[in-house]
Structure formats: structure tokens, C-alpha cells
């Protein structure tokens, strides 16, 4: 088992699926969708195998594969997972599989649609497993282009504007991150290997200045994808325009990639830079949380509302990372997973309504409970996860993040010498309030859309959910409930990963 390239396979299966799909004749609709479902299911099963195969006692990076690629430039094919990334692979697998299931009704050029979708997924898997920064950048950019095509080609209103806006934001963000990465590459021994870079950066004579200089471009560059305020503006527009499966993947998984890269490259390679700049990051996250809560409250478009709840969810993750301690990082890891599934679930539910009624405005929807009772339950579970209801995974995740932030308020600040980050405690309190407001509003929306008296009789005649959609909803809800009741299944793996992350932070 040791030499079985399971990680490569997880990433490669979607690409192979995409290639097979392109070979299938255009009119064989069912075959195309079956291949897409099989490919994503295979990746899901393999990533579950990695998740449970990960040795929690041993910790560190496992399932590593390393091949020289362009040794002249210090580039290699090097992949591996640690406890932090292993759950995210499962997350990607789950959301992808469900996204394919809920896209089954798609009639418009399904061949190209599913091929691009699978390439995108391959890029996401690749970003989570890459331990060579060059490789990571390739996967990262591999994600951007299919997203553009999928939104511009299959989206709803103002799709080209939204697709271009999203692409430019993310592309420029990635360029900024690339500039930072190249600087590290040149400063620290011309290697893209993550381990080499880490060792070399720490060994630089002026390591503190270097880290402080280059941390911000890398963290913010990737932070754009994690919708870090004030660079989040692409996100609501993009989600509003994107087809359901893309919203699910983008909100649930792609943003997680951004946060993950910000942690893996920003924080772990430059812990000193992280310690210095974290107050700024905390401030940006706080602003983002308040902003998202305030805006979501004014929104009546369902997709915008869910979009802003995903901005909140990522804000929490970034806050957990910014705490730079065990509790915060543990919480961030769990929140990435739970929030990802939550966002995927909610976008899929919104999509199910929109595809049938072609309505997304809260004021025009009512009495949907009778049409799709299962969706109503799913929506409530999602909102409660965001709110941090005990029994759902949002609770342990948010609790740990906020406690971590509280703990971090005791630490001395490197940016403002001589003081402590005492104001973090206030941030924690404000964050709790804003999250609760946001979730409460989402619940209120659920009440209006699903549980209100049916007024519009046309809505009551809409087709019911089909079997595949029900499977997708039940699957995602089940994962939320199981992880909520037994958070240790995920927590134990995340903790193993966080231990090694902490070692790198404290060593620096």
C-alpha cells in the first residue's frame, strides 16, 4: 500500500473522466453523466480511504510521492497530505459527487459542462495535495480557467460580467501570490519544494525581515480566493451568476483552497511574518464578518444570501488561522470541512428551487415546504450549522476558533511592541454576534421560503425532487449530522495535522 500512488490517482481520476467524456458522442447524455458521477465517486472513495488510512499517531505528511520533474529549476512532482488537508480531500469528494448528482437535469451541452467541471475538480484536489509550489501554482491556475468558462457558458443573469470579474480578481490575486512565492524561491535556494523552502527560509540570516516583507503578498494573494475583505467582491456576483454545481464547488471547496494555501504557504513558510501581520488579518476578517452580516440582511436574492454566508464561514476560518494557536487552527480545520459541506448543501438547495421556479427572490417564494420537504430540512440544518448549534459540526468548530482567538488575545503583539493583542477578545465577541445575526437571517429566509403559507399556487405545481437530488441532500446532511455528533472522527485527524503545523510555527 505504501507505494500505491493514491493521491495522484485522486487527482488524476477526474482528468481521465473528463477525457472519456470528451470521447463520448454528444447525444449520449446519460453515459456522459454516468461517467462524471463514477469519476467523482471514485475520487471520493479514494479520499475517504486516505482519510481513514492517515496515521493519526504518526502525524506529519503521509502518502507522499516524489518524482524529479525539472531538477534544474528545483521543481519536482511532490505530493502528500497531512491531517489538515486530508479532511479537505473528503470535502472536495463529497461536494463534487453531490454537485454532479444535482446537475443531472442539465440539458445544455452536458459533455463540455462535465468535462470542465472535472478538470476544475482535478485542480482543486491537486492544490490540496501539492507539496511543490510550482505544482501547486499549476493546479491553482488550472482551477481558474474552467470556472470562467463554466460561469460564462452556463450561468444565469449577467454571467459574463460576473465570470470576468471573478476571473480577474482571482487571477490578479494569484499573480500577487506568485510574486511572493517567486521572491521566496529566489531568496531561499532556488527550490520550489515546500520542505526545502521551509528549512531554507528559516535559515536565512535576515529571515525575520524576509518573512515580514513577503508574508502579506502571499497571504492576501491567496486570501482573495478565500474572499478576504475587501477583496471579496467577486464572490456574491460570481455565485449569483454561476450554475448550481459551480456555486457549490466554488463556495464549498475552492474558497477552502484559498484559505488552505494561505495557511500552508503564507503561515507555515513564514511564521514570523504571520505573527507580525496577524493583527491586520484579524482586522480584515472582522470587517468582512460585519460587512457580510450587514449586507446579507439587506439581500433578498437567495443566492446572494447563501453567498454571504459562505463569506462569513471563510471569515471564521481565517480568524482561526490568525489565532495561530492550537485551538484556533483545530477549529479552522473543522470549520473548513463543515462549512464547506454546509455551503455546498445550501447552494444545491437554492439551485433546486431556481431550476424549477426560475425565481430566487425571497419575496416571491413561499410555501416550498410542501413541494420539497427534504430541501426545507436541509436548509435548516445548513443554517444551524452556520449558527453553531450544538449537535452540528459548526458548534465545535466555531467554539474552538473563538476560544483560540480569546487565548491569542493574551499573547504579546510583535507589530505593536509592548502591548498584547487584547482586542482579539472583542473581535471574538463581535464575530459571535455577527455570525448569529447572519444565521438568524438565513433561518428567517428559510421560514419565508419554505414554512410560510403557500400563496402562489403556481409554485405548488412545481415538480418534486427526484431521487438523485434527494440522495445528494441526504448525503450532505448525514455528513453534517454524523460529524456534529461525533466530531472526533474529523477532529482527531485535524489535530494530528495541527500539531505539526504548530511545530513549524513555534520553531520559527
Amino acid at each position: 500500500m505504501a507505494n500505491f500512488p493514491i493521491l495522484t490517482l485522486i487527482m488524476l481520476v477526474p482528468i481521465i473522466g473528463a477525457a472519456i467524456i470528451l470521447l463520448i458522442p454528444r447525444e449520449r447524455d446519460e453515459a456522459i453523466k454516468t461517467v462524471a458521477a463514477m469519476a467523482s465517486l471514485t475520487s471520493l472513495v479514494l479520499s475517504i480511504a486516505v482519510f481513514f488510512g492517515y496515521d493519526r499517531v504518526l502525524g506529519g505528511f503521509q502518502f507522499q510521492e516524489k518524482i524529479d520533474w525539472i531538477p534544474q529549476f528545483g521543481i519536482g512532482y511532490h505530493v502528500g497530505v497531512d491531517g489538515f488537508s486530508a479532511p479537505q480531500l473528503v470535502l472536495t469528494g463529497v461536494v463534487t459527487f453531490c454537485a454532479v448528482l444535482v446537475s443531472w437535469r442539465l440539458q445544455d451541452r452536458p459533455r463540455e459542462y462535465f468535462a470542465f467541471l472535472l478538470v476544475l475538480v482535478a485542480g482543486v484536489f491537486g492544490s490540496f495535495i501539492a507539496l511543490d509550489l510550482f505544482l501547486l501554482l499549476i493546479f491553482y491556475e488550472l482551477v481558474l480557467f474552467p470556472v470562467y468558462v463554466l460561469i460564462a457558458g452556463w450561468g444565469s443573469k449577467r454571467r459574463e460580467y460576473a465570470a470576468m470579474k471573478l476571473t480577474i480578481y482571482l487571477f490578479v490575486g494569484s499573480l500577487v501570490a506568485i510574486v511572493g512565492i517567486l521572491a521566496l524561491y529566489f531568496l531561499a535556494g532556488n527550490s520550489f519544494n515546500w520542505f526545502d523552502l521551509q528549512a531554507n527560509i528559516a535559515a536565512l540570516p535576515d529571515t525575520e525581515q524576509v518573512q515580514r516583507l513577503w508574508f502579506l503578498p502571499v497571504f492576501v494573494g491567496f486570501g482573495v480566493l478565500a474572499s478576504l475583505w475587501p477583496f471579496h467582491n467577486w464572490s456574491p456576483d460570481g455565485y449569483a451568476a454561476a450554475p448550481t454545481a459551480v456555486s457549490m464547488l466554488h463556495g464549498g471547496v475552492l474558497k477552502a483552497t484559498g484559505a488552505y494555501c494561505a495557511l500552508r504557504i503564507g503561515v507555515q513558510l513564514m511564521p514570523e511574518g504571520a505573527k507580525f501581520w496577524m493583527p491586520v488579518v484579524v482586522f480584515l476578517c472582522l470587517a468582512g464578518l460585519i460587512y457580510a452580516a450587514a449586507i446579507a440582511y439587506r439581500q433578498t436574492d437567495l443566492k446572494y444570501i447563501v453567498g454571504f454566508s459562505s463569506v462569513s464561514h471563510l471569515g471564521l476560518v481565517l480568524l482561526g488561522i490568525a489565532a495561530l494557536n492550537e485551538l484556533g487552527l483545530n477549529g479552522a480545520g473543522l470549520e473548513l470541512f463543515a462549512g464547506g459541506v454546509m455551503t455546498g448543501l445550501m447552494f444545491s438547495l437554492v439551485g433546486m428551487i431556481y431550476e424549477r421556479a426560475h425565481l430566487r427572490d425571497v419575496r416571491e417564494l413561499n410555501g416550498m415546504l410542501r413541494v420539497m420537504p427534504l430541501a426545507a430540512i436541509g436548509f435548516v440544518i445548513g443554517a444551524l450549522t452556520l449558527m453553531g448549534m450544538p449537535g452540528l459540526p459548526g458548534f465545535p468548530a466555531e467554539l474552538q476558533i473563538l476560544m483560540g482567538l480569546w487565548d491569542a488575545s493574551q499573547t504579546p503583539s510583535t507589530m505593536f511592541q509592548g502591548s498584547t493583542n487584547g482586542w482579539y477578545a472583542i473581535v471574538a465577541v463581535v464575530a459571535v454576534i455577527s455570525i448569529v445575526i447572519n444565521a438568524a437571517w438565513t433561518l428567517r429566509v428559510a421560514q419565508r421560503v419554505y414554512f410560510s403559507e403557500p400563496k402562489d399556487m403556481e409554485l405548488q405545481k412545481l415538480p418534486r425532487l427526484d431521487a438523485l437530488e434527494k440522495v445528494a441532500i441526504v448525503f450532505m446532511c448525514a455528513i453534517l449530522i454524523v460529524v456534529g455528533l461525533l466530531p472526533n472522527t474529523v477532529m482527531s485527524v485535524v489535530e494530528a495535522g495541527v500539531q505539526s503545523i504548530l511545530r513549524t510555527i513555534q520553531a520559527g
Binding site: W69, Y140, M164, V172, L175, F186
Partner: protein, 506 residues
């Protein structure tokens, strides 16, 4: 001419074997001319383009097979020409560029293209190849002029267009003036080296401390010629007008192959003539080298900033190619700074030039198609291309993103190695400026992408016929842009070998 013609090598048939690809190019150019006589008067001239391209591909095979031993450069034609890995690599670059240009021209219907067009392209390719091989001032000048005159003719080839005529004249006047200045510099070297025109003699003169001032002066005059060929600021004025006016395939050819040839002679002259990187490195060489940095900065800054203001895609690509020349000059600056391992910097320049050739020819091929089908090259003419010709738009997107230097395309690797070379000799400031300019260039490259995919036209639904040869060029170059990143090691090794050839004396 000193004794350089005195050896009996000139009469030796084996000398011509060493430049067999060039000889074959000349023959093939004449064959294409001759075949035209056989064809019916007023008949179709399409087969001529196919013939020219196929012949060049055949010669490409010969050129690839004729790999010289890496550590034994050969002096040919009495030392006029140096056959080494550097020559080998550049020869392949030029023949690829020439062949692709012929293929793109086949369906360029803005003007009547006869056999003379293709044979001039072939002759220009031959002359550029000799430029890269030149090891002697006379050869340098003759090859440069042969290439330039071919390109003047091609730039003005579209007799139906005032712009094309203007392009031809403008290119010619600028070229004539700068080449006169260069010739003056070369004649000074001729005197300073005691009447010997070989690069080795020039290097010895340059190393003589007593000749410091005149050698520096002469070197600066020669630099004017190089700057013109590479469209470096302040000798870039011709580029936008010429690129805009010339037939589009020729704009592609001038912006890539001709520029590559300019860098080849620049590097050859710096290394072999002025002795940069050898024991002969002199004050004159260092003065020459010191000029590279401001040249690089001016070229990339001016190119990028002016490209921002263009509405015409051909003009935008002209300014972008000036900016690209600036990035390449970063590599040359790193080279001139005398790094511990000059091979890395030199190989970076060669790699960049080669990948840039493929990328820009791809872009110009698409521009040529749009020009014919839509009727212009304004940015609005690209509106809706993503729907009308998805594969063409995809190829253009790949080319533009590669010019920008976005991973995973090959342009990223090229920029990486160039910047790496500069960083390794502590030219951090230069790299910072370059990175800022790359960020600026996002705007003008993505502007075209936006037009292709976001903007709509009333002709959106009309499909867009792409003839096979042009489609093939776009396909091949776009595939290269995407795949060369993954498969770069053998090509990088080739560039390293070409770079190493200066280590081995004749």
C-alpha cells in the same frame, strides 16, 4: 580582411556541409521561384505556400539532425561562420519561425501572394541563421543586411494598402540609418583590430587598455544596430507602425524571428567580440554591459505603458513585443554582469526567445484570421470571437496568458528563468520593475481576452471559417505553449548546451 580568407578552408566543400541547412534554404527559395514559372498564369498560388512550408519542414529535419559536437565548435568559410550548439539552436528557431510564417501566409488573402513572397521569407530565414552563426564583422554585417532587406520588402508587400507601403518605407529608412551607424562602428573595429575582422581579433583589440576609448565608442555605435533589430528603446519607433502596416504573418515574423536574430548577434558580439565572460573581459566590454540595464528598464517600461493605450491589437502586440524585448534584455543584463555561471543566464535568454517565438506567432496567426474575417484588427473586432471561433479564441487566450507569464503556460517558465538569472547576480531592482510591468500588462492582455469572451456582436452566431494551415499553426503553437512547461527539461538542456558553446575556443 586580414588573413581570414587566406586559409584553404574557403574552397573546401566540407565547409559548405557545415552550413548545409542554409545552402538548402537558398536552393529551396530558388525552387519555389522556379515552380511559379511552371504554374498557370493567373492561377492559384496556394500550392506555392504549401511547397515552401513543406520544404522548410524538410530542411528543419536536416537542421535537427546536424547536431554539432558540443565541445568542438567548427570554424567554417575561413572563420567567417562558427558552427556550434548556439548556431544549431538558433538555426532551428529561425526555420521553425519561417515555416510557421509560410503556413500562416497561405490563406492570408489581403493581397496577392506569389512565389517571390515565400522565397523572400526563406531567404530571410537563411540570413537570420547566418546572423546567429556569424563570427566575423563582415559576416555579421552582410547577414544582418540580407535579413533586413528581405524584411523591408515583406513589410511593404501589400501594395493595396497605404499602411503597408508606409510600413515598408519606414522600416527601410530606420533600418538604413541604424545600419549605417552600425557599419561605422564596425569599420572602427576593423581599424582598431589591425585590419582583422574576426571576433577573436576584435576581442584582442578590446582587451588592449590603450584602445579603451575608441573601442567603447565603436561598441556603442554597433549597439545602435542591435537595438534596432531587437526594437529596444530608444530605437523602437519603427515597430508599432511597421507591425500595424505589414501583412500580419510578416508582423509575426518580424516580431519573433528577427528579434531573436537581433539577440543572437548581440550575445555573440558581447561574448566573442568584446570578450564578456572570458579572460579578455575589458573596460569596453563592461561599459557596453553597463548600458544593458538602463536599456532593459526603458524598453520594458515604455513598451508596457504604451501598450496600455492601444486600441489596435496589432499595435498592442507591437508594444508588447517591445516590453518582451525588455524582459529578454534583463537576461542579457544578468549575462553582462558576469555571473558565476553565465550558462544559466544565457540559456534563459535562449529559452525565452524560443518560447516567445512560438507564442507570438500563435497570437499573430489569430490576429491575421480576425483581420480577414472581420475586416480589422481593432480590439472591437475581437468581440465575440469566443463564440464564433472557440478554438481560435482559446489559442489566442493561451498565447496572451503565456506572454503575460501566467502558470502553467510556458511563458511562466521563461520569465522564471530570466528573473532567476537576474536575481542570482543581485539585480533585484530590475526584477522588481519587471514584475510591476508584468502586473501592468495584465490589463492589456486580458483586455483582448475580455473582448473575445465577454463582448457580443450582432454576428455572434455566424461561424468563422478557419483554413487548415492556419488552424494547424494555432493548434501546434498553442499545444507547445501548454505542454512545453511540463516537457521543458530536454529543451532547457539544449539551451544550456547552446549557452555553453562559448566556453570552447575554435
Amino acid at each position: 580582411m586580414g588573413g581570414s580568407f587566406g586559409s584553404n578552408a574557403a574552397g573546401d566543400a566540407s565547409a559548405f556541409l557545415g552550413i548545409l541547412p542554409e545552402v538548402l534554404l537558398v536552393i529551396w527559395g530558388l525552387v519555389v521561384l522556379g515552380v511559379d514559372l511552371v504554374l498557370k498564369h493567373g492561377g492559384k498560388r496556394r500550392p506555392l505556400g504549401v511547397l515552401a512550408a513543406l520544404g522548410m519542414l524538410g530542411i528543419l529535419v536536416v537542421a535537427v539532425l546536424m547536431r554539432p559536437p558540443a565541445d568542438q565548435p567548427a570554424a567554417l568559410l575561413g572563420g567567417m561562420v562558427r558552427n556550434d550548439m548556439f548556431t544549431y539552436v538558433f538555426r532551428i528557431i529561425f526555420i521553425v519561425g519561417g515555416a510557421l510564417t509560410c503556413l500562416v501566409s497561405i490563406d492570408y488573402r489581403k493581397m496577392r501572394i506569389g512565389s517571390e513572397y515565400y522565397s523572400i521569407v526563406i531567404f530571410a530565414t537563411m540570413a537570420m541563421s547566418l546572423m546567429a552563426a556569424a563570427n566575423d564583422l563582415i559576416m555579421l554585417y552582410l547577414a544582418t543586411e540580407a535579413a533586413s532587406f528581405s524584411l523591408y520588402l515583406l513589410a511593404g508587400f501589400n501594395r493595396n494598402s497605404k499602411l503597408s507601403a508606409e510600413a515598408g518605407i519606414k522600416y527601410f529608412i530606420f533600418g538604413a540609418v541604424t545600419s549605417t551607424v552600425m557599419l561605422f562602428g564596425l569599420s572602427l573595429f576593423f581599424g582598431l583590430s589591425g585590419g582583422n575582422t574576426s571576433y577573436q581579433a576584435v576581442a584582442q583589440a578590446a582587451a588592449n587598455p590603450a584602445l579603451r576609448v575608441p573601442v567603447t565608442f565603436a561598441a556603442l555605435l554597433v549597439l545602435v544596430g542591435f537595438a534596432f533589430k531587437t526594437s529596444a528603446v530608444p530605437f523602437q519607433f519603427w515597430a508599432p507602425d511597421v507591425y500595424q502596416g505589414a501583412p500580419t504573418p510578416i508582423s509575426g515574423f518580424i516580431s519573433t524571428a528577427s528579434k531573436a536574430a537581433g539577440f543572437a548577434i548581440l550575445i555573440r558580439f558581447m561574448f566573442y567580440g568584446l570578450g564578456v565572460g572570458t579572460q579578455f573581459a575589458s573596460d569596453a566590454a563592461l561599459a557596453f554591459a553597463a548600458l544593458m540595464q538602463p536599456l532593459a528598464i526603458l524598453t520594458m517600461v515604455l513598451g508596457s505603458l504604451l501598450a496600455l493605450m492601444q486600441r489596435d491589437v496589432k499595435r498592442m502586440l507591437a508594444y508588447s513585443s517591445i516590453a518582451q524585448a525588455g524582459y529578454i534584455l534583463i537576461g542579457v543584463t544578468a549575462l553582462a554582469a558576469g555571473p558565476a555561471e553565465p550558462e544559466q543566464a544565457l540559456a534563459a535568454v535562449i529559452f525565452y526567445v524560443a518560447t516567445y517565438l512560438l507564442t507570438n506567432i500563435c497570437a499573430f496567426a489569430v490576429v491575421g484570421m480576425v483581420e480577414q474575417r472581420v475586416g480589422g484588427t481593432d480590439i472591437s473586432d475581437f468581440n465575440g470571437l469566443g463564440r464564433r471561433a472557440p478554438y481560435l479564441a482559446l489559442g489566442m487566450t493561451a498565447a496572451l496568458l503565456s506572454l503575460l507569464g501566467a502558470p502553467p503556460l510556458v511563458g511562466f517558465v521563461a520569465k522564471l528563468v530570466i528573473f532567476g538569472a537576474a536575481v542570482s547576480v543581485n539585480l533585484i531592482g530590475l526584477v522588481v520593475i519587471a514584475v510591476v510591468m508584468v502586473l501592468v500588462s495584465v490589463v492589456y492582455y486580458l483586455n483582448v481576452v475580455r473582448a473575445m469572451y465577454v463582448e457580443r456582436t450582432e454576428r455572434d452566431a455566424e461561424p468563422f471559417y478557419v483554413p487548415a494551415p492556419t488552424g494547424l499553426v494555432v493548434l501546434v503553437t498553442a499545444m507547445a505553449i501548454v505542454l512545453l512547461t511540463v516537457f521543458s527539461p530536454p529543451f532547457w538542456n539544449l539551451a544550456i548546451e547552446a549557452a555553453q558553446s562559448f566556453r570552447f575556443p575554435l
